[in-house]
Symmetry: C2
Subunit: 403 residues, 2 copies
């Protein structure tokens, strides 16, 4: 099995020169910001631009009618990515709004408990704290020794008042991959709803909602899937979706059947809204199809290897500390450089056309405060990342370290 | 004053050939669907596509950083369009979500009354009915003899329990323009909040939030403003915005300042979310700038005249009935053809590259049922509409009438 994965990875490695040639940004920048927004392939750009041009030529509603079947297939592509069903997929404007539509549709009340992780993403944490003001108890499961969520601690915290476990699969500020399936097992046994934020893992890590055991999963197009901005998706288990009343309803999510009555549509379409960005949705579909075509097992193998290669290279530099936690680590490499703030490193690298971002406590406060981190440089690889790019990053950071 | 407006209109009329030449769709289709989505000008398409290409080349976050000042100016452009302040403007993904963010942030409780119009748009009505299930009383103000909301009836319905007046400025299914400023006067005197859905009027009718007297106003990019899909805006009066807690909060709307505390940002940015479609937002800005440049008084004069010309032409055909209500009528021309359903007319016209839509009771049930209408053909003009296009429409509908 392991050698088979290695073999799949090698097949993908062999395609990387061609994949880079089909990615306009590869010739322009050294991109270590795939966890922010990756570089879109030409075929995704062409899909988006082609639809926009068609809208301009024949009208945007008319172009949507023309693209109806292709649009419907986007849902199918996302379903294949997750091993879910097309009717369980909502195509939404971004991962945050997808996550919101799931989270805020849950009937959480004062006294209910919600369990989450140390490394939770800021936007989710802010939503939790909004419900905390209404009396919902938000509790952070401690990490185990590896720095991932302690599944044992989670199991110990479960009781009848726990209504939801909501976890970011991979944090915004480091390479940690949470033990999603082990968490799912605990949730299933306890019959507690499980919302997985797969914003950073979709397109990077193989995702199988049944193997994971989650009830809801949200993700974005623009990160590891290499799709456009302005598109994302939410998957909700079919029998659950039909029980949830979304916090917002419109003419797409419900039908106005009588003067004083509406009917919510079946399935996850209830989490969508009528006016969507069709071009971005089609672009996301093309990006998902590319990922499926390359194979998620292969992508995951290569991304993990590339990230380890970057960590190894950075660790040769005096003053560099790598901060990624966890037993399993993915494409995000987080580091600090002695004497430099994360923003200063980001700015210096940008002068050399190297794209990274800086993560601050505002983005993952529970984690950053617990570790006493004021900021980390977030450098994220993809299967596109070459040895030359890693060497250019190493060499530039080494220069900064030497100043 | 009237002759001055006529003069402004004539100046715009003189520019129409050039404006059509700069609009790719004008050579391809006979577009009577500006109320669905108008035809974008080349400069708007170039703005959107140019940013998407830049994202592909240097990375999407990096392209957003580069476009930061242009992005900030979009808010300013929208503020000028409405005579509001930039910090009162939220740039959102579409009009429905903008309206939702305002409506669902209001602390409406069982027993509160919400007043709306007969001709309300389906998505708003469905949201009202959702709150009705929580005990909020949704009451429809009757029309006056012209078919517009009766301002006298509205004034008579106001009492201490009325918390909100929410009205669509122009319905989805007809040319009626509601007396927005007269409604605003009643609301101001009664100190009742007033939410105006300007989805169909932004870019068509001059909008001055102070003259109208509304507290909240939402609109989209893609209709009369001629911007791209996937962008819209919400304006909320500054002192009101700061009192409202949005139904969804994320890292852009709030800052995670301590482990258990967030602070909502000041102004209308609280209704936005972090992940937006930058390209579409920039495109909306270009579209608003074009409308401001041409002048809303001029646009409104020409659109009204073009719509009356289409109504006059259609009324020469036996079996055609025009259904637009109101004392003031704008760019939407709604009609029926004896012996034909609205969908059949839409389909037949589409065969001849004439774009219209069909409005059904699902889109405006209170109004359609009251008038016994099963469907109307919605044909909507813009300043781009030529005499030749009107004649082509008239001639084709006359052919259908003769079958």
């Amino acid at each position: 099995m392991e050698s088979q994965t290695k073999q799949q990875g090698d097949q993908l490695r062999a395609k990387v020169p061609a994949l880079r040639a089909e990615t306009p940004g590869c010739a322009e920048v050294v991109h270590f910001n795939h966890a922010g927004a990756s570089l879109v392939p030409q075929q995704v750009l062409d899909t988006v631009v082609g639809h926009l041009q068609r809208e301009a030529l024949i009208g945007a509603y008319e172009a949507a009618d023309e693209a109806e079947q292709r649009l419907a297939r986007v849902r199918g592509s996302v379903a294949r990515l997750l091993n879910g069903k097309p009717e369980e997929v909502a195509v939404v404007e971004n991962a945050t709004r997808g996550w919101d539509m799931a989270f805020y549709s849950l009937p959480l009340q004062a006294g209910d408990r919600v369990l989450t992780s140390m490394s939770e993403y800021c936007s989710n944490a802010i939503a939790f704290l909004q419900l905390a003001q209404r009396g919902v108890s938000i509790e952070v499961v401690p990490n185990d020794d590896s720095g991932q969520l302690s599944v044992e601690a989670l199991a110990g915290m479960i009781d009848k008042k726990v209504r939801l476990v909501a976890v970011s699969h991979m944090p915004t500020n480091g390479g940690l991959v949470q033990p999603a399936a082990a968490i799912g097992k605990v949730c299933r046994e306890a019959k507690v709803l499980y919302l997985l934020d797969a914003c950073q893992t979709a397109g990077q890590v193989p995702l199988d909602v049944h193997a994971i055991g989650c009830d809801m999963l949200s993700a974005t197009s623009r990160k590891y899937l290499r799709g456009p901005r302005g598109a994302g998706f939410l998957w909700v288990r079919g029998d659950l979706a039909n029980k949830l009343e979304p916090p917002f309803l419109d003419v797409h999510a419900a039908r106005w059947v009588e003067a004083d009555r509406y009917e919510i549509v079946p399935g996850s379409a209830r989490f969508e809204n009528w006016e969507s960005n069709i071009a971005a949705t089609l672009g996301m579909g093309a990006a998902v199809d590319l990922a499926l075509d390359l194979g998620l097992e292969a992508i995951w193998e290569v991304v993990q290897e590339r990230a380890e290669a970057l960590r190894t290279a950075l660790l040769t530099i005096p003053g560099v500390q790598v901060h990624d936690l966890g037993a399993v680590r993915g494409g995000i490499v987080s580091f600090t450089l002695l004497g430099w703030s994360a923003e200063e490193v980001q700015h210096a690298l940008h002068q050399d056309s190297i794209n990274v971002t800086a993560s601050t406590p505002y983005s993952a406060r529970w984690d950053m405060e617990a570790r006493g981190l004021r900021g980390v440089v977030r450098s994220s690889v993809h299967y596109l990342t070459t040895d030359e790019e890693i060497e250019r990053m190493r060499s530039r950071v080494a220069q900064l370290a030497g100043r």
